[in-house]
């Protein structure tokens, strides 16, 4: 089955949210617009809307996560859904329960949506392929493949600061090879029509034939960030510094760390983003992380609204009255 077909129903509406790749521009814009509308909710004193009342959402995390799981949980609660957080560590695997058993058991408890994170690329697709027809699957990160809600919260951040994508030069710096965030960002930027997408990394942290993702490849940070409007710094996992990929954190920062001086090469209004958590002194120095160009904390804030948008859109086709409204609209 075509992967894009898996995500949308016959009318082009969101069914699962697994990857940005292959989605229509209008759908991405709809998610961003919906997220904008939820930003108000988040700022109210009573931070809830009753959209998903009576629905049960399961956060099914096979990999440790604080930030992503928390924002998904908050997003679900602000939509008035009931939330179940399940962290599945190795113990369930040791007991011999397969992923499919886990899925079937939770389905039997009449859960409506699964938010899945797993270390294997393709896990969200696997869940979506095997889920019951009434269940939606949201990818909260699968291996190195995709992290679509993170990418869209980044797009919302960029749009709120820069408006139109067409003229933007966006630079993604760091470990592209292992980054599901970068892959989803690149797809989103290209679908939304960004003027130019660049990646900057040493060759050990780039996938082979990286240009086929739709990016211009740079190995030199100073050349790569010249005149950039948006600079996205990726997190460098500690374990990458111990193997054969990089000699040391010191050399990485010297070559690829974002400093105030290097930031001066970018457009004067450039914004600096990071999916978090930051390794200060590895990806960027504190002066930049906490400086005027940094929008890192806004990203976290928008993350809740984007996840509310994705959850409500994926459930829309199943909300009471959805049929009636469609008939009226049609």
């Amino acid at each position: 089955m075509n992967r894009a077909d898996l995500q949308v129903d016959g009318d082009g509406r969101l069914r699962h949210f697994l990857t940005v790749e292959g989605l229509h521009r209008d759908l991405l814009v709809e998610i961003l617009d919906t997220a904008e509308s939820f930003l108000g909710v988040v700022e109210q004193s009573v931070k809830k809307v009753p959209l998903l009342r009576g629905k049960t959402i399961v956060n099914l995390f096979f990999e440790a996560s604080t930030r992503t799981r928390t924002t998904f949980e908050l997003a679900a609660k602000r939509l008035s859904a009931d939330v179940l957080n399940i962290h599945v560590d190795a113990s369930a695997t040791i007991k011999g329960e397969t992923l499919l058993d886990t899925l079937r058991n939770l389905e039997a408890m009449h859960c409506d949506m699964f938010v899945v994170r797993h270390a294997d690329s393709g896990t969200a697709h696997f869940f979506a392929q095997h889920a019951a027809p009434h269940v939606s699957v949201i990818n909260a990160g699968d291996g190195r493949h995709a992290h679509p809600t993170q990418a869209l919260l980044d797009m919302l951040t960029i749009r709120r600061h820069k408006g139109d994508f067409g003229r933007l030069r966006v630079v993604i710096v760091g470990d592209i090879l292992h980054s599901r965030v970068a892959r989803s960002q690149i797809h989103a930027l290209n679908i939304l029509g960004a003027g130019e997408v660049r990646v900057v990394a040493p060759r050990t942290l780039l996938p082979v034939q990286a240009h086929t993702l739709g990016v211009h490849v740079f190995h030199d940070l100073e050349a790569g960030i010249r005149d950039a409007d948006v600079i996205i710094m990726l997190r460098l996992q500690r374990e990458r510094m111990r193997g054969a990929l990089l000699p040391s954190a010191h050399e990485y920062f010297r070559l690829y760390g974002l400093t105030a001086q290097r930031l001066g090469l970018a457009h004067p209004d450039a914004i600096v983003m990071h999916p978090g958590p930051i390794n200060r002194g590895v990806e960027m120095d504190s002066q930049v992380a906490d400086g005027a160009h940094s929008v890192i904390l806004e990203q976290v804030h928008y993350g809740i609204a984007v996840r509310m948008a994705v959850m409500s859109l994926a459930m829309r086709r199943r909300l009471p009255g959805a049929e009636v409204r469609e008939q009226e609209a049609g």
């Binding site: 089955m1 075509n2 992967r3 790749e21 397969t98 992923l99 499919l100 797993h118 294997d120 690329s121 393709g122 896990t123 697709h125 696997f126 095997h130 699968d142 291996g143 190195r144 493949h145 995709a146 599901r180 892959r183 996938p207 082979v208 034939q209 990286a210 086929t212 993702l213």
Partner: protein, 438 residues
């Protein structure tokens, strides 16, 4: 050579296969002939031998009559993994597909590193009475990669070659010693060229699809580096070695060059590598998870060219039946391998249809080619040879349906594919072991 008998009741019966197009690549025969089998052997072509009495006559008009297919690599999962398949289930699937001789790699449980396991496989396959099954012995004890196996004993027990299957060797020194020791007993070493360090936990070809899907990749150099290192040792030791399952065009060229330089090395390819590429993995479908991985269209074309030129001596199935659960997981967590016995001849015939090579050459890669690698007297219709025969209708259209598979493993990406050419009769040692329903 202690060839395992594949049941011999009825071996003395005379069989006449008449009116077919007989293709025997080993002897350069291709034309309309009647074939006479007697006492389990090929007795005569065109005229029955004196005193011949046909107990059975097979009307082969409109059909091709060729030697039974010799498959260099088919896992039957016995002993040790009977929940996936058994020798009984897989040999039945083999003979329906025209395969009369199968080689079983040593990664059973227990590993084929003692004569007892070889004997067990021989006895089980003898009881089944379908295809002949030969064991490939382990190159190292327990396939552990560091201690040589008792190769002399394995050879005496009937192993046709030694191999470490897909398990890594601990280093170049053990490979050198294994080649030397195997050469002492004139045993062929089957090598699976994959450098374990460069393989680095990958599950797909390191290329554009791996880049897009974020799946860990296995670079081309995992294969070519292993081929280069092995060739250096093969040349130095003078051992007889065979490269299994080449997947890259560059490795094929390296083997061709080595042969040009006089190194007596052979190589094979599995049928699915001649059709599928990395793009087939695009939907995270675990049925396309194989090892070595599916590579680029350039590699597929290079493998096809190598097959046409004869650098690749054989096409094998690399049959790996699995239970359904083995493929019900996210792609990297699925077990690699395809249940492939039933598509070996159909895919090879498809190459003929696509103009890659002609029918006699294609059949050579399935019969005398692999038999020569093994040093076995099969894969030919020479007078006096064992009467292992495959009769197929080259015009018969059919579709691979899951419910009709005989293999216990239904894990094949070729379900729903349309094929032309289907086996109607299979004989092993002159005995009819499969006949298609009329």
């Amino acid at each position: 050579m202690s060839a395992p008998a594949a049941g011999n009741a009825g071996g003395a019966v005379g069989v006449a296969i008449t009116g077919g197009r007989v293709i025997d690549p080993a002897n350069g025969i291709d034309g309309p002939h009647d074939l006479f089998l007697h006492a389990g052997r090929v007795a005569a072509l065109d005229r029955p031998p004196p005193g011949f009495r046909a107990e059975r006559e097979i009307d082969a008009r409109g059909k091709v009559v060729c030697p039974g297919i010799v498959d260099l690599c088919a896992r039957m999962r016995e002993p040790g993994h009977e929940h996936k398949a058994t020798i009984a289930s897989e040999t039945a699937a083999a003979v329906r597909a025209g395969i009369t001789t199968l080689c079983c790699p040593p990664d059973t449980d227990p590993v084929i590193d003692t004569p007892a396991v070889v004997e067990l496989i021989r006895r089980r396959s003898g009881q089944c009475g379908a295809a002949r099954v030969f064991a490939v012995g382990a190159l190292t004890q327990g396939l552990g990669g560091s201690q040589l196996s008792e190769m002399a004993a394995l050879k005496s027990a009937g192993c046709v070659a030694v191999s470490n299957a897909l398990a890594p060797l601990s280093g170049m020194l053990i490979l050198r010693r294994a080649l030397e020791y195997a050469a002492t007993f004139d045993l062929t070493v089957f090598l699976h060229p994959e450098d374990p360090a460069l393989q680095d936990g990958g599950c797909v070809h390191e290329g554009v699809v791996a880049t897009r899907l974020g799946l860990p990749g296995i670079p081309e150099a995992a294969e070519t580096a292993a081929v280069a290192a092995s060739l250096a040792l093969i040349e130095q030791t003078g051992a007889r070695a065979h490269f299994c399952r080449l997947s890259t065009a560059r490795a094929v060229r390296m083997v061709a060059r080595a042969r040009h330089d006089g190194i007596p090395v052979t190589a094979d390819v599995c049928a699915h590598q001649l059709f599928l590429t990395e793009t087939d993995v695009g939907g995270f479908d675990g049925l396309y998870h194989v090892r070595p991985p599916l590579r680029t269209t350039g590699d597929r074309d290079g493998l096809r060219a190598g097959l046409a030129k004869g650098t690749l001596d054989a096409v094998c199935s690399d049959h790996q039946p699995h239970e359904a659960d083995a493929k019900l997981a996210p792609f990297p967590a699925t077990a690699p391998g395809i249940s492939a016995l039933e598509t070996l001849l159909p895919l090879t015939l498809r190459l003929v249809g696509e103009g890659v090579l002609d029918l006699p050459a294609a059949l050579a890669r399935l019969t005398c080619g692999p038999a020569r690698i093994l040093g076995l007297p099969f894969g030919t219709l020479s007078l006096g040879a064992s009467a292992d025969v495959c009769v197929f209708d080259p015009e018969r259209h059919w579709r691979l349906e899951e419910g009709e598979m005989l293999s216990r493993g239904h894990n094949t990406p070729f379900l729903g594919w349309e094929f032309t050419g289907r086996v109607s009769h299979t004989l092993v040692g002159g005995r009819l072991v499969y006949e298609a329903p009329a």
